[in-house]
């Protein structure tokens, strides 16, 4: 045991280079040290205030985001009374469309027109443009007012279309 300890003691002769030690010391003592942060009431209040501001801003941001989602639902077209599909359907059915055929004189000008080319099919001479009187007569048969929008006779659009289709 003593021999062992004696051998270990020989290790105390290990030394560093003198130049290295001098340079190292100089570098270390010249290095900049960060000052120790001292505890103070002002620092504590400052950090608390900073935390409080952070929490407040986060809360405001959340309110804006959630509020924006709520406004979006409110502004949705399906929530406006005037754009409710159910109401729209009911209003459409309640509309009483009164269609009145006005002056039907659009065929009078066709008599003076000539056929454009030989390749085009010719208009049969047996087909004559309807005269104004013929149209008005036909309209009267169907019960459709053909002259004046102020006529007292008026029917719904569905009925008018059905009569024309007959």
């Amino acid at each position: 045991m003593n021999e062992l300890l004696h051998q270990l003691k020989k290790l105390t002769s290990i030394e560093s280079d003198a130049d290295y030690a001098r340079r190292s010391r100089q570098l270390i003592l010249q290095s900049v040290r960060e000052p120790k942060k001292k505890f103070s009431i002002a620092a504590l209040l400052g950090s608390s205030l900073q935390f409080g501001v952070t929490v407040a801003l986060t809360g405001i941001l959340l309110l804006v985001v959630l509020g924006g989602l709520g406004i979006g639902e409110f502004l949705s077209p399906f929530h406006l009374a005037s754009l409710d599909p159910t109401n729209l359907r009911a209003e459409a059915q309640a509309i009483d469309i009164q269609i009145q055929l006005t002056d039907l004189n659009y065929h009078e000008s066709l008599n003076s027109q000539s056929t454009p080319s030989t390749a085009a099919p010719t208009i049969s001479s047996s087909i004559t443009p309807a005269s104004k009187d013929d149209v008005q007569k036909k309209a009267a048969e169907l019960g459709i007012s053909s002259v004046s929008p102020s006529s007292s006779e008026s029917i719904g659009i569905d009925e008018a279309l059905n009569r024309l289709a007959e």
């Binding site: 045991m1 062992l4 300890l5 051998q7 270990l8 003691k9 020989k10 290790l11 105390t12 002769s13 290990i14 030394e15 560093s16 280079d17 290295y20 030690a21 190292s24 010391r25 570098l27 270390i28 003592l29 290095s31 040290r33 960060e34 000052p35 120790k36």
Partner: protein, 180 residues
């Protein structure tokens, strides 16, 4: 422990560089020796010792005197530096690690070459031990720290240090006997 160490530490904690310089002059050879025995390379030992003292100077305001020598705190820092060094560099133990030229010994004893060779052999036997065993051997028998100071430096209880010391000496004796 140096005379007036408490006053020096107090002044160093307040930021007085000259006070820390005195502490450096006293403890640098010991810390260097401890690190060199562990790593075996002169340049590495110099770098690690420098870093250990730099860390100590940067953090000395956090040092609290708890009845132990300042050296225990320095050894803790140096030990952590060596641990980090082993983590980052995968150094394998080899006979080249015990280069006798790395040892600077006194010239008035037996021939310098023989002494250097002996030192290299002892170091080789030592570094074959586990790191905890090495630390206990070096701190207790080379640096001559007390059991209490060694426990503080190794951040262990005195009982644990006693047990480590016993096992470390047994292992070291085996290693030295095997070499012969």
């Amino acid at each position: 422990m140096i005379d007036g160490e408490d006053k020096l530490i107090e002044r160093a904690v307040k930021g007085e560089a000259s006070a820390f310089g005195h502490l450096y002059d006293h403890y640098q050879p010991r810390i260097y020796r401890f690190v060199f025995i562990k790593v075996g390379q002169r340049e590495e030992a110099e770098d690690l010792t420098h870093q250990a003292f730099l860390n100590a100077w940067q953090n000395i305001q956090n040092y609290e005197h708890r009845g132990f020598p300042f050296s225990s705190w320095l050894y803790q820092i140096a030990r952590n530096q060596v641990i980090d060094y082993y983590r980052t560099s995968r150094s394998n133990l080899s006979i080249d690690d015990a280069d006798p030229e790395n040892f600077v010994g006194p010239e008035n004893t037996q021939s310098a070459a023989e002494q250097k060779f002996e030192l290299a052999e002892i170091r080789l036997a030592l570094i074959q031990l586990k790191p905890d065993y090495q630390d206990v051997i070096v701190l207790r028998f080379v640096e001559e720290l007390s059991l209490k100071e060694t426990a503080e430096a190794l951040e262990r209880s005195e009982g644990a240090v006693k047990l480590l010391q016993h096992r470390a000496l047994q292992e070291l004796r085996k290693n030295l006997t095997r070499k012969k």
